[in-house]
């Protein structure tokens, strides 16, 4: 598909150009930091950022914050995603619920789930509980919707097979149905992995004693851009790792979707 737009590119370009891009990025960042802004407390150079990151990691100062964020994110994700999946399977299987609950939940989608954050904190107080709750609620809805959608998609193909097997084989059909819906479920999980970090960080912004989000906000009051950059970098790394992990599991569990004939 891309061939039309880069017909005359030499062989090694696929590797060389991105590398050049990285170099350009670092150089550009450095230039802006030194010549345009000139204030390391507002914009550190790449080197300064890495030094700050390194000192922070080596000093151990960041570990409690990172763990706080991870507990909130992963805890909430595990809770919300699993409940959302279970609820999704249940609702999709019971036609009465499917007709009533699923559209209700769809209608709720228009409102951004971050908006409930202050209310969640009123309910659960300041600290880990409200972070977990916020992430759980957000991921619950995403997983629920994707699971039901996946079950709907699977149902179409399998109704005929069900008839061939006979109505008594519900167990087989249900298991096959769940397997077929896994692609949707994992897509939902990929969205949830990004969403969980977003919600946790927001929770930490508005009321938390610790966490990477809290740290970024606090560092901004101290006008400590290096610290902010360091914390943001760690957040980016964690979010990417989680996303890659989920993508990896997705490709291996739903392997048939990605094999080329």
């Amino acid at each position: 598909m891309a061939d039309i737009y880069g017909k005359d590119l030499p062989r090694g370009a696929t590797v060389a150009l991105p590398l050049a891009g990285v170099a350009l990025l670092v150089a550009g960042w450095h230039a802006v930091a030194v010549y345009v802004v000139g204030d390391p407390t507002l914009l550190p150079t790449p080197l300064q950022m890495f030094t700050a990151l390194w000192t922070w990691i080596a000093g151990g100062g960041f570990l409690p914050h990172m763990m706080a964020t991870l507990y909130g994110t992963l805890g909430g994700l595990a809770l919300g995603a699993s409940l959302g999946f279970a609820a999704g399977v249940l609702v999709a299987e019971i036609r009465y619920l499917d007709r009533s609950v699923y559209p209700m939940v769809l209608a709720l989608q228009a409102m951004p789930v971050v908006a409930i954050a202050p209310l969640v904190i009123v309910w659960f107080g300041i600290g880990l509980a409200s972070k977990v709750a916020l992430v759980a609620i957000g991921t619950f809805f995403v997983m629920f919707i994707h699971t039901v959608a996946g079950m709907h998609a699977a149902a179409g193909e399998l109704i005929d097979m069900c008839k061939a097997f006979g109505g008594t084989r519900w167990r087989i059909v249900r298991e096959v149905k769940i397997k077929h819906s896994l692609n949707y479920v994992f897509s939902g999980l990929e969205i949830c992995s990004a969403l969980s970090f977003i919600l946790c960080v927001v929770g930490e912004f508005i009321a938390a004693p610790n966490g990477l989000g809290y740290y970024v906000k606090a560092a901004s009051s101290d006008i400590n851009a290096s610290g902010m950059f360091a914390a943001i970098a760690v957040l980016a790394a964690l979010a990417s790792l989680l996303a890659l992990l989920v993508r990896f599991v997705h490709r291996h569990v739903v392997f048939w979707q990605f094999r080329k004939a």
Binding site: M1, L17, G21, M111, W123, V202, A225
Partner: protein, 260 residues
């Protein structure tokens, strides 16, 4: 006559889940005897919305702030995304060169950059607009890039045989083909944009729905908080609906009945 009946029926069918939702909400709050400072009942919220919009009108200023900031940021981010997406899609060289930057932008959870933006741009609406633009950039960028690249190769070949330049091919071939994908990206982008706006309002305390929710929650005034959430939902819905309508009008050839 039947068209009107169909439209009305369609509207009612859409309304039904919301009615059910309100009913379930009401039932749960009543049955579990939830104190209204934690979760108000529908009529309490309804009254608050009515007061806020019709009687005292104190909610309008906040609604307008959020709408304004979100819209501006959406246009800024979306416009940039379409330009950048188109440029990168039409040139593999630029795409490969920009690839690390794109990966970087994608991997950073955009909300975490909010305090940084505040540091640089200050405590006013500019920061909100910037965060919104940043957060809705990516989905629209992806929609544009994928859409432009997805122009049927045979059509691009046709333009080649006519010796059309790259820009002419982009304008007459790739861009219209990408329209559907761009709109899909924008629908997602609108949702993200609202998130960005609300989050920024949380931490700046600037006027807007986010501020309302944050402030009233702190004062245990859950009615106002939930009222603001409902209004946010309406805003989200309206934006989405407008985009869908625009898509249907502009991309009129997609999803149409095929003849023969």
């Amino acid at each position: 006559m039947t068209m009107f009946a169909n439209a009305a029926g369609d509207f009612l069918r859409r309304l039904l889940p919301i009615v059910l939702l309100v009913a379930v909400w009401w039932a749960l709050v009543w049955a579990l005897d939830v104190p209204s400072r934690l979760m108000p009942s529908p009529p309490e919220v309804g009254r608050r919305i009515y007061d806020g919009l019709v009687v005292t009108g104190d909610l309008w200023a906040h609604l307008w702030s959020t709408t304004e900031a979100t819209l501006l940021g959406f246009l800024l981010g979306g416009g940039l995304a379409i330009v950048v997406g188109s440029t990168l899609a039409m040139s593999r060289t630029l795409e490969l060169l920009a690839y690390p930057l794109v990966v970087l932008i994608q991997s950073v959870p955009k909300v975490s950059v909010a305090p940084l933006i505040l540091l640089w741009a200050g405590f006013d609406i500019r920061s909100t607009v910037i965060l919104v633009a940043l957060i809705c950039f990516f989905p629209i960028f992806v929609g544009t890039f994928v859409g432009v690249r997805a122009a049927p190769p045979v059509l691009v070949d046709l333009f080649s045989t006519l010796n059309a330049g790259r820009f002419a091919t982009f304008l007459h071939c790739n861009l219209p083909h990408a329209a559907g994908s761009i709109f899909a990206g924008m629908e997602v982008g609108w949702g993200f944009a609202l998130v960005g706006c609300v989050v920024m309002e949380f931490i700046t305390g600037l006027s807007g729905a986010g501020f309302l929710i944050q402030n009233s929650a702190n004062n245990l005034d859950a009615e106002t908080a939930v009222a603001a959430m409902v209004l946010l939902g309406v805003l989200g819905f309206i934006g989405g609906a407008l985009l869908q309508q625009a898509k249907r009008r502009l991309v009129f050839w997609e999803g149409s009945a095929r003849h023969g």
